[in-house]
């Protein structure tokens, strides 16, 4: 079956260490993390990755007030991606545009805020905001972007825990191949640092990172790792069919080569390395490649004691020792866990490798856990590669949802 080829033509992002792809990449290569202290309701000062993008560039102050942080992040990323793509968006038929945004969760922030607000009025629900429902519907981030951009095509979110960022791109590729839309704005967003529940949940689970130096708190693969740093962020791409992109002379970042999605069906929170390995293999087969053809494996590892080891087990099972050109890295060591945005952001951080032939490092590994000592793991300083033609991006989430996305250097 000859399916249309799908390419990435624009990137818009906000990460805790950068609000554009060049800034983000610069910091990843320079070893600059983006973790700091934030005040969390009921819990006090905690480590988190916060974004500093200028919301008022694309929104009125009232829109920021009425909307959600996830909606605002979506609007920023979507506008940045469209500008980056060079598309004549004003003249583009808006009913042929799809917005597909992955989210780990949505509505916790807004619900907690309302409960806190009515707590000041003896929990009388007549003080509950009339904005609560439009703020908390699951499609809110995509819906706010559609309002902002005047997009009248399909606009919705994809709930897939922390695998969601990849799912946004995968779903968009499928919709483009089916001819449902001609332009997809897709990826993932997260506003999770504004809900105490996420922090409290990870803390109760024994999976919330602590460290006296914020920039050293997120430390996947290090023996002293002690959990997740929760971050906010977003990354949306413009995806087009290759023929459309070439016809308009677009700059092409990469081609969607293949993907795999599966489920562990084994535990609420514990990862399953057998299913993860299956997902990785599925994506490689879908791309028509062999493991040795993969040049960068960007890991999902979140710096939990068990999760990192299990992902390494899965990677080892697929790549073994026979892939000398395969590098392995981790972006969360810089930006923490951006939840629904993680997959999309981490892929973006690696895209420039096609041009600079450099693999950004995994920072904060002072004492490598032997169980995580994968061949090709890039530690603390970037590595130069002989060739980089493929990037494989892992993103896994709770309830056992796994996603692996592969992009490749574009060759017409």
């Amino acid at each position: 079956m000859n399916l249309p080829r799908i390419v990435i033509t624009g990137v818009g992002l906000t990460a805790p260490n950068g609000d554009s792809l060049p800034e983000f990449r610069r910091n990843l290569l320079a070893g600059v993390a983006g973790i700091g202290w934030v005040e969390v309701r009921y819990m006090g000062r905690l480590l988190a990755g916060a974004c500093l993008y200028d919301a008022l560039k694309y929104q009125k102050r009232k829109e920021v007030r009425v909307g959600t942080r996830a909606g605002s992040i979506s609007i920023w990323c979507a506008n940045q991606a469209i500008e980056d793509s060079g598309l004549p968006f004003g003249a583009f038929p808006k009913d042929r545009v799809g917005i597909y945004i992955g989210c780990t969760e949505h509505g916790n922030v807004e619900t907690e805020n309302e409960i806190y607000a009515i707590s000041k009025f003896n929990y009388d629900t007549k003080y509950w905001s009339h904005y609560h429902n439009p703020r908390t519907v699951a499609n809110n981030p995509a819906g706010e972007a559609s309002l902002n951009l005047g997009v009248t095509g399909p606009a919705y979110t994809i709930g897939a825990a922390c695998a969601a960022g990849n799912l946004g791109l995968i779903h968009a590729s499928q919709m483009l191949r089916l001819g449902e839309v001609d332009l997809a704005i897709c990826g993932g967003v997260s506003e999770s640092i504004h809900t105490f529940g996420i922090f409290a949940g990870f803390k109760s689970q024994g999976a919330l990172a602590t460290h006296e130096i914020p920039s050293k708190a997120s430390r996947p693969f290090d023996r002293a790792r002690n959990g997740i740093v929760v971050s906010e962020g977003g990354c949306l791409y413009t995806l087009e069919r290759m023929d459309d992109a070439l016809a308009r002379g677009a700059r092409i970042y990469a081609e969607i080569a293949g993907y795999g999605v599966n489920s562990d069906a084994s535990d609420y929170v514990l990862p399953n390395p057998v299913r993860q390995a299956e997902c990785i293999r599925k994506s490689i087969a879908h791309a028509g490649l062999r493991p040795a053809d993969i040049h960068i494996v960007n890991t999902h590892a979140t710096a939990t004691l068990l999760g990192d080891i299990q992902e390494c087990e899965a990677i080892r099972a697929v790549f073994g020792e026979g892939c000398p050109d395969t590098f392995v890295n981790n972006t969360k060591s810089f930006i923490g866990h951006c939840m629904g945005a993680a997959g999309a952001l981490e892929l973006a951080g690696n895209l420039p490798s096609f041009d600079d032939l450099t693999v950004h490092a995994t920072i904060n590994v002072d004492d490598l856990d032997p169980a995580c000592a994968l061949p090709g793991l890039v530690l603390n300083v970037p590595a130069k590669a002989r060739r980089i033609d493929t990037i494989l991006n892992n993103s896994f989430g709770m309830l056992g949802i796994n996603s692996t996305l592969i992009v490749k250097r574009f060759v017409a």
């Binding site: 009125k60 102050r61 009232k62 007030r65 009425v66 009025f121 007549k126 003080y127 009339h130 904005y131």
Partner: protein, 87 residues
């Protein structure tokens, strides 16, 4: 509370719920929706903020009484004063 103080209280609320609007020249006799970018959700915000900040209830049947600053003052000033007399 005077009518002018009441209008100022309403404008203070509008300043928060519609922060992009220029409120320096709001005509008191002209409908707020005809001179400011306010929608039905914003009017619900005004009702909510009157409740939260001042303890004033505006039943749905009376929402039209909030159409202009003049009509707000006419409708709300007695409510403000009745509350003040109670406290």
């Amino acid at each position: 509370m005077t009518n002018e103080e009441c209008k100022k209280a309403v404008l203070d609320i509008i300043a928060d719920i519609a922060p992009d609007e220029d409120l320096s020249n709001v005509k008191p006799h002209v409908r707020l929706r005809d001179q400011l970018q306010l929608d039905s959700m914003d009017f619900l915000d005004i009702v909510m903020e009157l409740r939260k900040r001042h303890g004033i209830e505006v039943p749905e049947a009376d929402y039209l009484r909030l159409a202009s600053l003049d009509s707000c003052a006419e409708y709300l000033t007695p409510k403000f004063n009745a509350l003040a007399a109670k406290s």
